[in-house]
């Protein structure tokens, strides 16, 4: 089969590789019908996630048809059309029992490595480094899905691939960011980053009762999408002094809920941006936490800061004193996608949201290597790339 493989920084190639096979009794093989490049894949592309190996198959947002099931798979049959959550969860450990699927005890074959890096091991993730298990990803014609009884959700034929693909990651990720903040009806939510996760966070905030959502970015077409497609008020951080503007828009209090949907490669302005870029290049810190710092400073006293943006290692100059003094609550982590599959599929079926609104590029796997660059450089007004194998 053909698959997009990682060979190093800014080096993604379409390769002929062997087809995946059933390795464990609860595995299924999926023939991929649609897959996407995630913003977090760009951290791999830029070489900021350690423990990638030359030849690793990329991709954690994918869907398709079941073509083979292992001997102990009960809930799936050959021919079923499914969307697959990006974290791999066993469904039976303590964390899975409490719906914290991205914290599964049993799905990371390299748990020892993650335990050294993080103290404990999170769940394995498709196509996202050996620290997260080294699983082959779904930017391919076929993919092996472990614990197939637990993850994949069957989707009705009345919905198109584009309608449901984003259940695999970005829709639940944006939704969880708001869900875990327990927002009060009528409150104001600020979202840093108008990429796919930020856009879904804006939509989700309105679904969950926010009165006003303020979105922050510097890419004109993304700000336009946040305003026109998602209904946010927008701020461009190259023009607007963000802290002052946010205070002004919230009667001086600051937003009660702040969502940092940017992660480890934030762009900022001024001296601090050069400082972070230099340190990250020298690997003295692994993230450029510009948006995170700003969100801490902007957040209202007693407010909640949610971080769906991906961080992988160590950052510095984090104003922890501001967070402490203002009594902030931090919520963060990978998305417990399994938890949200059914309720969000129901919202799609009821036409409450059309998740395909942010797709700007419809390509094939052959276009993959080029698409990574276009998406990373935000050229060609690129917001979301989907690929058909």
């Amino acid at each position: 089969m053909r698959a997009l493989c990682w060979f190093g920084k800014e080096d993604v190639r379409l390769q002929d590789v062997p087809d995946p096979t059933i390795l464990n009794p609860h595995d299924a093989i999926i023939e991929v019908s649609l897959t996407a490049i995630c913003g977090s894949d760009l951290h791999l592309y830029d070489g900021y996630i350690p423990t990638m190996e030359s030849g690793d198959i990329l991709g954690h947002e994918f869907m398709g048809k079941v073509v083979e099931v292992g001997p102990e798979v009960q809930n799936l049959n050959v021919g079923d059309r499914v969307v697959v959550p990006f974290p791999i969860a066993c469904g039976h450990c303590h964390h899975c029992h409490t719906d914290a699927f991205a914290l599964c005890d049993n799905s990371n074959p390299n748990a020892w490595m993650a335990e050294r890096a993080f103290g404990h091991s999170p769940a394995g993730i498709f196509g996202y480094s050996h620290l997260y298990g080294g699983y082959a990803g779904g930017q391919a014609e076929y993919v092996r899905v472990p614990f197939a009884d637990v993850g994949p959700i069957k989707v009705p034929d009345t919905l198109s691939d584009e309608d449901v693909l984003f259940l695999s990651d970005i829709f639940p990720t944006g939704y969880q960011a708001v869900d875990v903040a327990n927002i009060e009806p009528g409150s104001t939510v600020a979202v840093w980053g108008c990429g796919p996760v930020g856009l879904f966070a804006i939509k989700s905030a309105y679904m969950l009762g926010a009165e006003k959502v303020i979105a922050i970015d510097h890419v004109p077409e993304r700000l336009a999408m946040a305003r026109h497609q998602a209904g946010a008020e927008v701020l461009n951080f190259t023009d607007d002094p963000i802290l002052e503007a946010l205070k002004e828009m919230t009667d001086g209090r600051g937003p009660q809920t702040c969502i940092e949907a940017v992660g480890m490669e934030a762009h900022g302005t001024g001296l601090m941006d050069y400082y972070d870029k230099a340190k990250q290049t020298l690997r003295l810190e692994t993230g450029r936490p510009h948006a995170l710092r700003e969100a801490i400073m902007a957040c209202a006293k007693g407010g909640t800061l949610v971080i769906p943006g991906v961080f992988g290692g160590i950052i510095d100059k984090l104003p922890i004193g501001a967070a402490f003094s203002k009594g902030l609550t931090f919520k963060m982590g990978q998305t417990h996608v399994h938890r949200y599959l059914k309720p969000l599929l129901a919202r799609i079926e009821k036409n409450e949201i059309d998740p395909s609104f942010l797709i700007t590029h419809r390509l094939t796997l052959e276009d993959g290597p080029e698409a990574y660059r276009t998406f990373r450089d935000k050229q060609d007004e690129c917001v979301k790339v989907v690929m058909r194998p």
Partner: protein, 264 residues
């Protein structure tokens, strides 16, 4: 005593019972080694034989050489009786090592106890164990895989068996690996089980020991930690997570790089 353990598990409520069981189950500290051979007899026999061959050959020399050979045989006899491999293994035996690890498993203690007592299940999580043979109610024969297509065997006797709570065992005399251990299953309030494994063994020394040194150099504690994790995964999820055998792009060299990264 060499101590590689991390004592994170010591708060386990069954610690006293484990301590007592471990003390009672202790395998003999030293197994017979090459000192068992009759060295004076071998020496004298060798001297006689050398003298005999150094002289001109005659009837007298044949008798002296035969007497020397007899003395040598007499000296080596314990080796024929007890097995040279074992004597070699236990010569220059090193200090005993103790490993102490624990995990929490979301299954009832009774089920985990059953898995631990089942010779068929054991190689599924103890992956360095090739097979376990059932010799009797309390007797099992363990065969471990050692790099270089070698096998390491020992017979183990269960010395204590508290149903659903604790199992203690020790190797019997004549084993190629002198070891003893105790595993306990403690019911936590939330229905999960704290599994605590303590293992004490004496890495084989001598020439045979050298050939399997690599086996013990592979950080046995890390191996056991992964095997206890495999036990948890089997008990909870019904399989051990793996990526071995999945596709990837590029060349064969990758496999080597991966084996550095991946345990499974």
């Amino acid at each position: 005593m060499a101590q590689t353990s991390i004592h994170h598990a010591q708060h386990t409520p069954m610690i006293e019972e484990e301590e007592r069981a471990l003390k009672r189950t202790a395998a003999p500290d030293t197994e017979p080694g090459l000192q068992e051979l009759g060295w004076p007899s071998i020496g004298l026999g060798a001297a006689l034989a050398t003298w005999a061959f150094a002289r001109q050959h005659g009837v007298k020399q044949i008798f002296v050489a035969a007497a020397g050979a007899g003395l040598i045989y007499n000296g080596l006899k314990p080796g024929f009786d007890k097995g040279f491999k074992r004597l070699l293994a236990n010569t220059a035996a090193t200090e005993p090592v103790e490993i102490d690890i624990a995990t929490t498993i979301a299954r009832p203690a009774s089920e985990l106890y059953q898995m631990w007592r089942d010779p068929v299940q054991i190689p599924r999580f103890f992956r360095h164990i090739k097979r376990v043979e059932h010799l009797g109610e309390r007797l099992t024969r363990w065969v471990a895989e050692v790099p270089g297509d070698l096998e390491l065997c020992w017979n183990a006797e269960i010395t204590e068996d508290h149903k659903n709570e604790l199992i203690a065992w020790r190797s019997l005399e004549g084993s190629e690996l002198v070891s003893s251990g105790v595993v306990s299953f403690f019911k936590l309030d939330d229905g999960q089980t704290r599994v605590h494994l303590r293992l004490r063994y004496q890495p084989p020394g001598g020439e045979f020991g050298a050939s399997i040194e690599r086996f013990f150099k592979a950080i046995p504690e890390q191996i056991l930690r992964e095997e206890l994790r495999a036990f948890k995964q089997l008990a909870e999820a019904g399989e051990v997570a793996t990526v071995r055998g999945q596709p990837y792009g590029g060349t064969q060299n990758r496999e080597q790089g991966l084996s550095m990264l991946t345990n499974r």
